[in-house]
């Protein structure tokens, strides 16, 4: 089932084009990454999906509903974690969530139970009576995710969820997001830190100046842009470049002494290992997912060349 879809969605601010002709489909249970550099239109797209900003052209459907016509229904089913999420500093974590449950119109008993559940899940139960002004950035972010879960959402939209978190906290946060996926929640997340989120995303869309430039799984994109969806690192005796290149499925080989970087369309580790052992020593062999940063950089170098 398609959960989020857009047709020709566009947004202009005066003469600035924020989003142009966006066509997107996100399926149920998927983690979709909306990726791109600063100012490429990620937040604008998200705001249009929630009915918080009116599109200039085109239309969006979230869970089959039009966010401009039925914003209340959309917003009661879709959880949203804004970038730079803010809370009322003078209230405690518990009180902040209590306000949200009132806005959601939850009955008292149900509200209490849900608040307890989400606070425990996000590891904030011990600090529930502390004022949010004393919270660290990471705690705030987890409180934001707790608030998203309060709704028991079908879809969670997270804008820059790892922004401002240290690498360890970011990794933990991404684990929490994976947990949501396991529950069957469809997730749309945006980020400009491609390498950081590429692991949790089933599919990604790469934005460039308001346009969706590339769309697909990370492997598909690497295949299309770099010519190989698999990146294999080999450490062996020097001079094996030519033999590696003759293998079927190898797109590119870069060599530096005894270190090789091979881009291939499938997992060629067994074949590469055999060649290396036949010609000398095999010291190391590793398969890496190709990095989205590379895909992105490569793609736009080519686009710039073509222009």
């Amino acid at each position: 089932m398609v959960v989020i879809e857009t047709h020709g969605l566009s947004k202009r601010y005066g003469r600035v084009v924020a989003v142009e002709d966006l066509n997107l489909e996100v399926k149920e249970g998927e983690v979709f990454g909306l990726l791109g550099p600063n100012g490429s239109g990620k937040t604008t797209t998200i705001l249009m999906l929630l009915g918080l900003t009116e599109p200039t052209k085109g239309e969006a459907r979230v869970l089959g509903l039009d966010p401009m016509r039925e914003p209340l229904k959309v917003k009661s089913r879709v959880g949203y974690l804004p970038d730079q999420v803010g809370f009322y500093g003078e209230l405690t974590a518990w009180e902040n969530l209590r306000y949200t449950t009132r806005l959601l119109g939850l009955p008292e008993g149900e509200a209490q139970a849900r608040i307890e559940e989400v606070l425990k899940r996000m590891g904030l139960w011990e600090v529930r009576d502390r004022r949010v002004s004393a919270f660290s950035r990471g705690m705030r972010q987890r409180l934001g995710l707790a608030e998203v879960l309060l709704k028991r959402p079908k879809v969670a939209i997270l804008d820059e969820p790892t922004l401002g978190l240290d690498p360890e906290a970011a990794r933990e946060f991404l684990e929490l997001i994976k947990g949501l996926k396991a529950e069957g929640i469809t997730i749309l997340l945006s980020s400009h830190l491609l390498h950081q989120v590429q692991e949790v995303c089933d599919r990604v869309g790469l934005f460039h100046k308001g346009r969706l430039a590339l769309l697909g799984t990370v492997e598909e994109l690497a295949q299309r842009v770099l010519g190989g969806g698999y990146e294999i690192l080999v450490e062996a005796s020097p001079g094996l470049e030519e033999s590696f290149r003759t293998l079927a499925g190898v797109a590119r080989v870069e060599a530096e002494g005894g270190r090789y970087r091979i881009l291939a369309s499938r997992d060629l580790r067994p074949e590469l290992a055999r060649i290396a052992v036949e010609h000398g020593q095999l010291l190391g062999l590793a398969l890496r997912r190709p990095s989205l940063d590379e895909v992105y950089a490569h793609y736009f170098k080519e686009v710039a060349h073509a222009a």
């Binding site: 705001l47 039925e70 803010g86 009322y88 806005l103």
Partner: protein, 318 residues
Amino acid sequence: MRREGSPWTGLWAVFFKEMADHLTGIRMRILEGLILLSALAAVYTGTQTLRQTVGEDPYLYLKLLTTAQDPLPSFVGFLSFFVPLAAIALAFDAVNGEYARGTLSRILSQPIYRDALLFGKFLAGLGTLAVLLLALFLLVVGLGLFTLGVPPGGEEMGRAFFFLLATLAYAGFWLALGLLFSVLFRQPATAALAAIGVWLFFAVFFPILTDLAAGALLLQADPFDPESQLKQANLALWISRLSPNTLYAETLTAVLNPAVRSLGPILITQLEGAVLGTPLPLSQSLLLVWPQLTGLVSLVILLFTLAYVSFQRQEVRA
């Protein structure tokens, strides 16, 4: 395009949250202290003056509210000074504060419309001021009972009720103004300054301007034709009524002083058959100030609508 769902979903959630914030906030403590002190001072002088005449005056409590003794203004005088400041203090950071804290997009992503947020904040401000006014009024009546020793009459309480209602409408004007500026200006300090600027304008400069205008208008009148003089005087009066302060002051004059029979120039012929000095019944006094009261309320609605429209057009991100 038609929106689905009620614009008032979540209104009471916002109302109770904001009201609780106001009532527990430090800002409110300061205001309460200020108003309380000045009210006590005013009532004290009032009772000192009135002690001598207890028993002779049927409207003792109304006098208590309005008697001034140099250098202190009356209770009503204090109130009309402080109420605008209190209202502005409650509203100037209502919307821009949410932007600054980064809470706006989070709140608006809950299933409510912006209508509920803005109106909830307005009602909460009004509710807070109503609680404050009522408490203050009961305090004054209590003190009066204690020092004067006579209970207030029914007619007096009726008039006092409408006095409180008019004060609330007047507070509503400044609340709506503060709310409007909190939408228009991103910096709370700018919004506060602008609102206080408007208040100063109406409190200090507007009377000067209307005086000048009245003088100029009277000069244009034919000195030998009373009819043209009356016309010009009426025109000047209407100009002065463009200020909420005038509307409020006129309402108070008629509501708190039963002897007032007109709020403008009257001709001696119009008084023919009137028994001068006899008090007007409450219903007649109300009839007298009805235009002023509705004018004040329409100003509130106008300002709130402006705030509403500009808030609807704003982007949710800061």
